[in-house]
Symmetry: C2
Subunit: 200 residues, 2 copies
């Protein structure tokens, strides 16, 4: 049995949104969504640096929703290779949930996208199998994180609580049910309050 810890790291507005409204191919994180991520743009506050480093540290494997991998509506074109250019920041196998079968796509820098058509649990199993004792990270988007939370799949949730109000968009916790969350580490900069929650 795999010992993989399952983690997830999301930046969330103070009013609970992880993406702004009107998500599109041109703006996949929605109107205002970029404001959630400014804490890890240069120049970083010294408090935010280790949090960013942890965000970017390679995990054993990732599970990713189809909306995180490609444009929201319709199937991807045959040459769609994700939003991230030739060298995505994952450097590990990424299991993408989709209804469309697709051969794996090997990218530069150690990232390979695998496409899983038989659901979240199957993707988790495959991710844990390749991760071994390393972490499996739920890379997003919000609906995949909600699914993972609602089935109790996440052991540790890191939230960057960003002091902005988006007013509308996609909420992280809608419909996930109750969870036993315990804050185990808090660090704060003017740009975000980073809280690591253990989910038991």
């Amino acid at each position: 049995m795999s010992m993989s810890r399952v983690t997830c790291h999301m930046s969330i507005s103070l009013d609970g949104f992880v993406a702004g409204p009107d998500q599109s191919v041109d703006n996949p994180i929605g109107v205002g969504g970029l404001r959630l991520h400014k804490w890890h743009f240069e120049p970083l506050h010294e408090v935010d640096i280790p949090v960013r480093d942890n965000l970017l540290a390679p995990k054993g494997a990732y599970v990713m929703g189809r909306n995180m991998f490609g444009p929201i509506r319709g199937a991807w074109s045959d040459d769609w290779r994700g939003w991230w250019g030739d060298e995505p920041p994952y450097h590990a196998p990424v299991f993408v949930l989709t209804h469309h079968a697709h051969d794996p796509i090997e990218m530069d820098g150690g990232t390979t996208f695998h496409f899983v058509t038989d659901g979240f649990e199957a993707a988790m199993e495959q991710a844990k199998a390749v991760a071994g004792d390393a972490e499996v990270d739920i890379a997003g988007g919000a609906s995949t994180v909600r699914q993972a939370l609602s089935v109790g799949a996440i052991d540790e949730l890191m939230l960057d609580i960003v002091p902005v109000l988006l007013g509308s968009g996609e909420r992280l916790f809608d419909g996930v049910g109750d969870l036993a969350l315990e804050p185990v580490e808090v660090v704060d900069s003017p740009h975000a309050t980073h809280v690591r929650y253990r989910i038991t």
Copy 2:
């Protein structure tokens, strides 16, 4: 011109609710709402003690919505004196927003409830006039805080971010528009992450 700083202190669930669903006379903070306040029940964690002390420290005056003072539906009975017994925890003048004129009610321990029928701004003016240089605190409930936030009336918002998910209820930030929030102090216990925001 008054120099009163305007403060507000709310306990909020990780999914953004400051009261649970199904608020009633028997349960004015809604189903599950009490879980938001456990951080200041005995025995307190040492980190939570000064936050509780600050919550209870007398302010110069308070502004309070009608749902915070009395049952949500209908006018209060003539002998309604609030939820708090003979000695409410305010120890200062409290300006209650209502559509029903009422003589002031003087309670034990320095709390006097004044009833303001001409709106939020009028209540703020009266509160600032009696507070002098001391703080005016927006005591709640959520709709009054939203109103105060939406007109830019609050200088400092203290949030106790409690690691529970209520799933439904009353949200603090719905419809308040955008605000420039700056976290200026964070302390955390296992029961809550307390963030003091300056609103500029």
